[in-house]
Amino acid sequence: MPPLSILFVRASFIYLLIGFAAGAALSLQRGMPFQQAIWKLWSVHVEFLVFGWMVQLAMGVAFWILPRFFAGPPRGNERPMWAAFYLLNLGVCFCGLAPAAGLPLFLSLAGRSCELLSAVCFAVHAWPRVRKSDDICRADKGETAS
């Protein structure tokens, strides 16, 4: 697994745990109400699990698994993926924590914008890799890999 995928996947696991913890607190409040402020964790629960855990894991595994190139860097230009990593995590933190902390709404807007940019960066990186692998291409042409 390449280092960038390790980063994506481990980060997603951390979001999974925080999201589950927020969910456990919300379930506790739902079943045995004790502190109304717990409901503020809703944004953390949803944002961290949907974007922080699932989307991030998908990006990390995709970067690992998608067909590699025969010539040049095997996984192509990695810079968009690095950008995607930082933008996604910035966005998730803004969108998840800002409503919970009662911070201004424009931070949520900034967070969503970061997530959108992250997706664009991921697509820029991944699009050319959604193809037959180079080995298969060469076999189709009757060539053999050296």
């Binding site: 697994m1 390449p2 280092p3 390790i6 996947v9 481990r10 696991f13 999974l16 745990l17 589950f20 913890a21 969910g23 456990a24 607190a25 919300l26 379930s27 506790l28 739902r30 079943g31 045995m32 699990l49 949907v50 855990w53 699932m54 894991l57």
Partner: protein
């Protein structure tokens, strides 16, 4: 495909079906207003699809596909953690499915909801602990 992965994937498929059936019931309730209490199924529906279907599918495939444990790690412990995660997640989810619609009517369902959340969290913790060291390079 390892046995545990088969458990995760087949269970995930069952949750997908159950979740979608629930979705139909909730939509029907919205249209015909047969039983108001059916609307309280919405959180259960969401959790069946997101946790029961999607997350379990991911857990099962990750358990199968991630790199092997590095030398020196206790493979039996990690397998036990992954198995514990399976049972805890499903126990928590099913407890939630029963308790959530009854929270307002049956006193015991309140604590059951609280416990279900904690059990699901423990399941997630066990899973992360079981695969953390497998997230590695060669």
């Amino acid at each position: 495909m390892p046995t545990l992965t088969r458990w995760y994937l087949k269970t995930a498929l069952l949750y997908l079906l159950a979740g979608l059936v629930m979705g139909v019931i909730i939509a029907a309730q919205d249209v015909w207003a047969v039983m108001p209490c059916l609307s309280s199924l919405t959180p259960v529906y969401i959790h069946f699809l997101v946790l029961g279907w999607l997350s379990q599918l991911i857990f099962g495939v990750a358990y199968w596909m991630f790199p092997k444990l590095p030398p020196g790690c206790n493979a039996r412990l990690h397998e036990s953690l992954a198995t514990a995660a399976f049972f805890l997640l499903n126990l928590g989810l099913l407890a939630r499915a029963v308790a959530e619609p009854l929270t307002a009517q049956v006193p015991i369902s309140g604590p059951a909801m609280a416990v279900s959340g904690a059990v699901q969290f423990l399941g997630g913790l066990c899973f992360v602990a079981s695969v953390w060291h497998r997230v590695r390079g060669k």
